[in-house]
Structure formats: C-alpha cells, structure tokens
C-alpha cells in the first residue's frame, strides 16, 4: 500500500524527529533507575513528547487546526488541574483515569482509521486490519476497565468482588462474539455496523472483566490496564505506520506487564487467580469457614494491650526499630506523624528503618510516595528482600495499619488463603507493637496470628491519634 493512502504515515523528516522522541523516552525511563536522576528523566520524556507533538502539528496533511487546538488546550488543562489537585493517597485513581483516557484515545484513533480505510479502499487490508481491530479491542477494554477500576478505588462502586450468575459463560460468549465479528471484518464480509458491534462488545468486556475483581486487587488491574493502553497505542502505530507510536506503546506495554508480574509475585498468586478468582468474594465466603477454623484456634488466646506511654518507652530505649507501614497509615493520613516519631527516636540514638512490602498501598510503590511526601528520606526505605534478615536483630517492629503482610500464617499454614505470600518477618523481632483500629481482619478476611503472639502488643485506635500519643509520650521521656 502506498503511503499516500494512509492517515498517519509520516515523511522522512518527521520520522527522524519521531525517532529522536522515542530515544528521549527510553533515556527518560533509564534515568528513573535512581531517585536523584529520576526527575530529569521525566523531563527528558516530556521534551520528547513536545517535539513529537510539534512535528505532528507541522504535518502538511492537516487541513484544519481548530478542533486540534481546542482539544489540546482543553485536555491539557484538565490533565494539569487533575495532576495538581490529586492527593497522594488518590494516586491510583488518577493513574487509572489517565490510563482510561489513553485507552479511549487509542480506540478513537483505531476507529477513525478503520473508517478511513473502509472508505478509501472499500475494504480492510489484512495487516492494517489486524492492527486496527487489536487497537480498538484493547483500547476499548482499557477505557471502560479503567473507569470501573477508578470507581472501585474511589468508592463510587462497591469495592467488593461482584459476582453474578452465569458470569463466566457471559464473558465467554462476549469474547466469542468479539472473535466472530473480528473474523467477519477481516474477511471483509461485514462493514461499519459489524465494526460498531465489535467496539461495543469490547467496551462491555472491559466493564465485565473488572467488576468481579476485588478492590484490594486493583493495583494489579491498574498495572495490567497500563500495559493494555500501551499495546493499544502500539497497535494504532502499526495501523498508521508510525514509528514513535509503536516504540512508545511497546515500552509501556513492557513496563505494565513487568509491574503486573511483580505484583502477582509479591502476593504469590498467578495472574489468572487475580483476574478470575474473585478473591475478595471467595474469601468472604470461605473466610466464614476457614476463618472460623483459624479463628477457633485463636479464639481462646489472649491479646495484649499496651498503653501509648509503655510503647513509647520501649521504642525510645530500643537500639533498632523497624516501622512497617500499611495502607491503614495512609488512610489515617498518619505519615507525617510517623516521620516526626522517627525523627524523635533518631535524636535519641535509635536506628530507624522502614520496611515496605511490595503490596503496601494501592499501587506498586505507593507507600514510598506517601512517605516521601512526609519527607522520609528514601535511604531509610527498604523492600522485603533487603530488610527481612534485619528483623532478627531488631528490638521493636512497629506495625502501623498493616495486617496480611505480617501474618506468619503465610509461612507455615498451607490452609491459609495467603499461604506462600512473601511476608515481612515482624514476628522475628524481640517485640512487636501493632497500631490498629480494631481486631477486624485485613483484606484477605482472615485472622492474623501475629496479634496473638506473646511478644506482640496492640495499641488500639486511629493510627493518626495513636502516633500523636506516641510522639507526645516520647517527648515527655
């Protein structure tokens, strides 16, 4: 096919500039490998984006700039306001929405390219056809899937895994319909109406695929949808023969896939279990049974309370303290108080470290961002592999709003739903102080035997209030 009949095939000059932009994206991500250079890396990528946009706007085939200019200003304005206003705790929601925007844009581009090819050549050339259909399908799934993910994270829709009768057969039929319509379109046996049905089915698939996934698994979903939007972009790049779309889309596809894999590994669950397991719902059911059994074993055991003053004394006279923050800390907005407590302890000569579980927070690396916001130096943040050996030498492990990630059952109880999940070995330190609102189980819906450990002490109450009491008590010592 000659380049003139394509919408997006760029001239040699523009292609060279696109290549420079792609190189800047790669160098930008490369600089993200260290906190010192990360910010300039992001700037490099932004420069790449700017020059790609400028050279696109200079394209001679553009007939009218009105819609483009208004669209760029409107979208850019919305994006800028959202980026400025979002609270760091709400970062996963924003990333989900940005993902959805990109996916939606990819679906739009593929749809218009389909329309263009249909009218220019009367049919769908096979190679462009496959790219267009993949771009529409993946983009549409990412668009609606991201909106549902946002709704679950934001609390607009139920966070629980929603299951309804015939869920799997319905999804299967939908997938079959998409395949069938795609086949019709590729063999040019059908036109625009079939395409619209294809697109509609893809949009619906995005909704139905994410609805049965529990809120706690949304980080995995958001990573996966990030990778989907990247792949939809790459597919649009194939359809338009545009090199920068292919390279950038593929980079993001690789990034999202890798992060999804790392999250699943951190939870010791295969991706299929996350996507189709309806984790929150099944454990709510089996939690009554299994939790009942586990709960019965733990029911007779006493739980030790501790006062803020006693806990403060223990912390202040310890040599080494490891803080284990969980999402409960973020919800209570207690990260600034935690940093203040850590500063006080360090002034008394206590060594303070933070142990960050890979799934702490609501997206990969979320807890690090929340602590960085509270000015915690990143040198004090350690991930699971780095710190787990230190617990044996640690005097006090301070668990704040974390639960399943410190449950020793994951190590030794094959009956437990979280068995095999890598955990932080808080139970191996000399004392464990647990700040918790109540004895309510965590996301997995199971009892935590750490709370019943003789060396564990519970400081009940809102995390922020409890931290405030600890700070006051340490000051008073």
């Amino acid at each position: 096919m000659s380049p003139e009949t394509e919408l997006g095939g760029a001239g040699a000059g523009a292609t060279l500039v696109y290549l420079v932009a792609a190189v800047l994206f790669i160098l930008g991500i490369k600089q993200l490998s260290s906190p010192q250079s990360a910010r300039s890396g992001n700037r490099l990528a932004a420069i790449g984006m700017t020059i790609a946009l400028v050279v696109t706007l200079l394209d001679r085939r553009i007939l009218s700039y009105t819609e483009i200019a208004i669209g760029l200003l409107l979208g850019g304005g919305i994006g800028a306001i959202a980026a400025r206003r979002v609270a760091m705790t709400a970062m996963p929601q924003l990333v989900a929405l940005l993902n959805g925007s990109g996916g939606g844009a990819a679906a739009v581009v593929s749809t218009l390219e389909f329309n263009h090819l249909l009218r220019a050549t009367g049919g769908l050339p096979p190679t462009e056809g496959v790219s267009i259909l993949l771009g529409s399908l993946i983009g549409a799934v990412s668009f609606t899937g991201s909106i549902v993910a946002w709704g679950k994270l934001q609390g607009v829709f139920s966070e629980k895994a929603i299951i309804y009768p015939l869920q799997k057969p319905i999804n299967f039929l939908l997938a079959a319909a998409i395949l069938f319509l795609g086949g019709l379109l590729l063999t040019n046996a059908a036109g625009m109406p079939a395409y619209l049905a294809f697109l509609g089915a893809s949009l619906l698939l995005g909704v139905l695929a994410v609805i049965p996934i529990g809120g706690g698994d949304m980080p995995v979903v958001v990573s996966l949808l990030n990778s989907f939007t990247g792949l939809a972009t790459a597919a649009a790049g194939f359809a338009l023969h545009n090199v920068v779309l292919i390279i950038s889309g593929t980079l993001v596809g690789a990034s999202g896939t890798l992060l999804t894999y790392l999250m699943c590994k951190a939870m010791n669950r295969p991706i299929t279990n996350v996507l189709f397991g309806a984790f929150g719902a099944t454990t709510a059911v089996s939690g009554a049974g299994a939790g009942g059994a586990g709960g019965a074993a733990l029911a007779g055991k006493p739980v030790r309370d501790v006062s803020a003053e006693d806990a403060a004394t223990m912390l202040a006279y310890a040599q080494s303290v490891i803080i284990i923050p969980g999402y409960g800390l973020a919800v209570a907005q207690a990260q600034h108080g935690v940093r203040e407590l850590a500063d006080l302890l360090k002034a008394k000569g206590v060594e303070v470290k933070y142990a960050i579980h890979p799934v702490a927070g609501r997206m990969p690396g979320h807890m690090n961002v929340l602590l960085a916001e509270a000015n915690v130096p990143y040198e004090e943040l350690f991930d699971l592999e780095q710190i787990n050996d230190d617990f044996g030498r640690c005097d006090v492990a301070l668990v704040i709003g974390a639960n399943d990630v410190v449950n020793p059952a994951a190590r030794h109880d094959p009956q437990s739903p979280i068995y095999g999940m890598p955990i932080l070995d808080a139970d191996r330190s000399k004392h464990v102080v647990i700040l918790k609102r109540s004895m309510k189980p965590g996301f997995a819906g199971i009892e935590n035997e750490l709370f019943f450990d003789p060396k564990a002490m519970m400081l009940f109450g809102d995390a922020k209030a409890s931290i405030g009491k600890l700070v006051a008590a340490v000051k008073g010592l």
């Binding site: 991500i29 906190p35 992001n42 409107l74 924003l94 939606g104 972009t233 390279i247 889309g249 960085a372």
Partner: protein, 98 residues
C-alpha cells in the same frame, strides 16, 4: 509487506529495550514509573491529531476531537503528576538527618 516487517522489527526490539530499562527501576520508584510510562502512552495524541486534522466529515471531526482531548489529558496529567512525585523524592537533602 516490507513496511510491516520493518514495524514488526521495531516492535520486537522495543520489547527488549523496554524490559531492560524498566527492570532497572527500583521498587521505591514504581509509582512514578507507572505514571511516567502512563504519560508516554499519551503519545497516542499524535495519532489523534493526524486523524482529526484530515477529517472530512463532521462525525469524524468530533470523534477526533474527543480523541485529542483524551490523549492530551493523558499526556499533561501523566507528566505533571510524575514530576510532582519525583520532586518529593529529590528534596531529601533539605531535611535534617538524625
């Protein structure tokens, strides 16, 4: 066909480059990595600009406009929020160390 092979070559090589650079990003920067790569897939706005600029019917124009808006949200939101987060990681030198 040659064009397709060229595109496919770029695609496969980009997978390997992507895997290499991304696997070097430390866990503490995974959220900015996600929002930053998120901004990079906003490059789809380039495609949206091209299809909108060549629109010849009102429907195509409007749909293209929607695509440009969505893509621009993705780009601006992604880069700015990533910068906001990375600024926090960079400012550690000003904080007093115990």
């Amino acid at each position: 066909m040659n064009a397709l092979l060229g595109d496919l070559t770029i695609f496969v090589l980009a997978i390997f480059v992507g895997y290499e650079v991304i696997s070097k990003v430390p866990v503490i920067l995974h959220t900015p990595l996600m929002s930053g790569t998120n901004a990079i897939h906003g490059i789809i706005v380039v495609g949206a600009i091209l299809v909108t600029g060549q629109a010849d019917t009102a429907v195509v124009k409007w749909l293209g406009f929607v695509g440009v808006v969505l893509g621009a949200i993705n780009v601006m939101g992604g880069f700015l929020v990533t910068d906001r987060m990375l600024r926090m990681f960079g400012k550690k030198k000003e904080t007093p160390r115990g």
